[in-house]
Symmetry: C2
Subunit: 134 residues, 2 copies
DNA sequence: GTCGTTGCAAAGCGTTTGCAGCCTA
DNA sequence: TAGGCTGCAAACGCTTTGCAACGAC
């Protein structure tokens, strides 16, 4: 079977207007979003939505694995749909956007000192994206 | 000549007991330290030292280039001596400490999509350090 | 009706800043 | 002595939490 994307969070509790709006925003995004961006976007569909609700939904879905945090040092956390293939990120210093990078070399794990156990790694590339570089 | 470490910050203004203590702590550290760790350590030598003074010294020295920030997503910034050889970091999820990793493979820059210009990269390893793994 | 969920406001946490007094040069 | 430096406390921005009202089931 093809490892298809979870269309919905698994254990999302009750279905509410707020969570539906937030989920929709995340599902439609083509790049990782900050909680503030999610709030602003979701409020278009659900006025009165509070930032606390966004954080609570995010937290629950990260635990679910339905979304995943994208943490760029020095910047607020962003979130994208989880369940994707292992990948990394490219941060354009010109336009500030974050892009996905498909390639990876798991041999980087061997960089750790002897006796250290590596169970995950993150590679961040910095520079200028195609459109900013041209 | 061997590229020796700057023994002192360049433009550190007046010499005070506080800044001497903070500088000493950074110079003697074998791993990146958080402002809080720096404060606690420096207070042994300089009681009454305030956290604001630590932040002010850090900021000035980062601008100097005498120290460099080490930013682990989801954690407070840490600081280490600047001017070191290119290296990366390992974050122990058990004890929370951050260690230096000497090795690197600059081929990771080639992971970016075509037409993207990569001018820097960061590799973060996560797992358990030697003493936590045993 | 139950109890998970929400918005609000307050609390945390790491970091910065305003200010009056201190101390280096 | 002048003006940079310091400690304190308040202010910040982002995130979490306490609480009473709300609403899905």
């Amino acid at each position: 079977m093809a490892p298809s994307r979870n269309p919905q969070p698994e254990s999302s509790g009750r279905s509410t207007r707020q969570k539906r709006s937030i989920r929709q925003v995340l599902a439609n995004a083509d790049r990782p979003l900050t909680p503030q961006e999610i709030l602003t976007e979701a409020q278009l569909d659900c006025p009165g939505l509070g930032i606390a609700t966004v954080y609570r939904a995010i937290r629950a879905w990260v635990e679910d694995g339905w979304i995943a945090p994208v943490e760029i040092p020095g910047q607020p956390d962003r979130f994208e749909l989880g369940g994707k293939r292992h990948h990394h990120h490219f941060h354009c210093r010109s336009c500030g956007l974050v892009f996905e990078v498909e390639r990876c070399d798991s041999r980087v794990a061997a960089f750790a000192p002897p006796d250290f156990v590596v169970d995950d790694h993150e590679i961040l590339l910095y520079g200028r994206c195609a459109s900013c570089a041209s």
